[in-house]
Amino acid sequence: MTTLPQGTELPRATGPAVLSPPPDGPLLEAADLAVSFSLGSALIARMRHEAHVLHAVDGVDLTIPRGEALALVGESGSGKSTLARALAGLQRPDRGEIRLDGKVLAARRSRADQRKIQMVFQDPYSSLNPRLTVGGMLHELLRVHHVVAANEIESYTRELLGLVGLGEEAVHAYPRQFSGGQRQRVAIARALALRPELLVADEPVSALDVSVQATILNLLQDLRAELGLTLLLISHNLAVVRHLCDRIAVMYLGRIIEVAPTETLFARPQHPYTRGLLAAIPRMTFTAEGDVPAVKGDPPSPLRIPVGCRFRTRCPIAQPICEQQDPALTTSASDPLHTAACHFAFGAAPPPADSAQVASTASPAGEGTRP
């Protein structure tokens, strides 16, 4: 088995992915998007008094301006991957609308529309065809989509591989000959081959070792700078997200519950779930000696979403109103970019009685520090 040498320098932006001049308005808008899955038979479920419809994405509005890197964070079962697949056209939504450059994307996308949103998947071992060489894979893609003239396919392929830091010898290699990080580079080259407007990366570094993660994160960062790429990054790792993204959307049980620019979210999280999520990140600097976890309990099953606020079953500040009313996303009066779906966000309501506990779980200073 050979391992191919790995280039580190990226060629300058002579760009295979030259973008059209940016029109006004956001690149992508999703409105009231919902995706559900039906599990088993409706009749049997009714006889057993069980739910059989899983609402993976349950009414999501999302806007991505051109050139932005937006992160979608949340735990397993929050619907972040389903939302990404729906945006990329891999999953048909139940309802809602997706607009790209102001134009509504049909449920069945034209080939030209498919091209505009491309995805990079988590596992580079299962997302590449093992029977095709890298060159063969890219050539097929370029022929089918007519991205470049037939006589330019060869040179464009080499240019693409150079862009992701792979040498020309990669053209004739099979995926099994690459390490995990190199496979992810191939997957990124494949996504960029179609000159997409939006790159959706679903946990692109989760399957990789730490030192390799860094090379892929740096590559994504360089590609953004050089190609002006718009990026939607799905990740559960908030350190990765903070490193790469301009804005963060937090998902919980199929809904977006808070959106803010990255630094605002880290400095002034409004939703109790966001605060818990931030406090739960293991840090280099202090120990887990306090006994109170950042967020208590398990997330409820997406088959049985609580009525009212979805987070109330785990929320440290839940009040009767949280059961009666499902809080809508509201915008901060002082910061139009910051929205949160909590009755007590932005000081909108009188602070709940035990807000002291929230403060202590949200701030790292409340934890036992290493002597």
């Binding site: 406090a279 120990t287 398990d298 790292p364």
Partner: protein, 340 residues
């Protein structure tokens, strides 16, 4: 942290452990001369990337290596008894009451067709001579201690009825059931969500602190080690390259590989403009490079690094490195500090 009480015999003493795996490509030296001490009541983190030999070291301690792997040299002393010399039936007397293990994937470690409570009660029945009712009471008590709600009812559940976090709580209850002096953890929270990981890590540290149980904690995640462990040992290509207190090793690494690991992971509290990746890939363990195994990827490498294999040497109280030019790491950190 334990500073002066190093006089007493450590609970676990691994010395010069070698594990080899027969493969088609030759003999893989997965663990190649690892020495490790775990004092009573302390948590030691064993970190490294995939293929560094950290899990093999852990499995060798408990004698649960895969069929094609063998301990070829070295000792594993637990309370003065060499576990590598014991037969399997003798090891079974140790597994449970002396050493327990928690795996990454609880679903594959638990018996899917046995009720959760019975699995927790099994150890006390076999090892502590409890009868069925006593063991069941103990299991329910343990389930309560690890935070499983409604333990009397959940006792009769099967593993598939539990969430990932709850299954890992069951694993912890099983590990604690015979009051072992040492628990080995192999990436116990890697498969869990961050809020659940936080719950499990806090639970594990609290229970071990209360019962004085020692931990060996294998993970690739440095911040997790910082949360749980007192000591840390960094493995690369089958060898320990740096060892010391968690605080010292993570803030003042004395090995370029550790420095690389610390810098390549994004830090959630201190975002940097660019991450410093470690160039290249880990070497083959069939024929590792001569001299220091890290030298082909090391920016501080000199001529002497390619010739002699540097031993792990103690530089400062409790802090050891296997780098011939470890001062370079200090210089680098100092200049970086000045730049900030």
């Amino acid at each position: 942290m334990s500073g002066g009480d190093r006089v007493s015999q450590p609970l676990l003493q691994v010395s010069d452990l070698h594990v080899q795996i027969a493969s088609r490509r030759g003999i893989v030296r997965a663990v190649d001369g690892v020495s490790l001490e775990v004092p009573a009541g302390e948590a030691v983190g064993l970190v490294g990337e995939s293929g560094s030999g950290k899990s093999m070291t852990l499995r060798a301690i408990l004698g649960v290596l895969p069929a094609e792997a063998r301990v070829t040299a070295g000792q594993v002393l637990l309370d003065g008894v060499d576990l590598t010399q014991l037969a399997n039936n003798q090891l079974n007397q140790i597994r449970g009451p002396k050493i327990a293990m928690i795996f990454q994937e609880p679903m594959s470690a638990l018996n899917p067709v046995m009720r959760v409570g019975s699995q927790i009660a099994e150890g006390p029945q076999v090892h502590l001579g409890m009868n069925r009712r006593q063991a069941a009471e103990r299991a329910i008590e343990l389930m309560r201690r690890v935070g499983i709600p409604d333990p009397e009812r959940r006792y009769r559940s099967f593993p598939h009825e539990f969430s990932g976090g709850m299954r890992q709580r069951v694993m912890i209850a099983i590990a604690l059931s015979c009051e072992p002096s040492l628990i080995l953890c192999d990436e116990p929270t890697t498969a869990l969500d961050v809020t659940i990981q936080d719950q499990i890590l806090r639970l594990l540290t609290r229970l071990c602190r209360e019962s004085g149980t020692s931990l060996v904690f294998v993970t690739h995640d440095l911040p997790v080690v910082a949360q749980v462990c007192h000591q840390i040992a960094v493995m690369y290509a089958g060898r320990i390259v740096e060892r010391g207190s968690v605080q010292e090793v993570l803030t003042q690494p004395w090995h370029p590989y550790t420095l690389g690991l610390v810098r390549s992971a994004p830090d959630v509290d201190h975002p940097r403009s660019s991450l410093a990746a470690i160039p290249g890939a880990p070497p083959s363990l069939v024929s590792p490079p001569a001299g220091c195994r890290f030298h082909p990827r090391c920016k501080f490498a000199e001529q002497d690094c390619t010739v002699t294999e540097p031993p792990l040497r103690l530089i400062d109280a409790g802090h050891a490195t296997a780098c011939l030019h470890y001062e370079r790491c200090l210089d680098e950190l100092r200049t970086e500090g000045a730049d900030r």
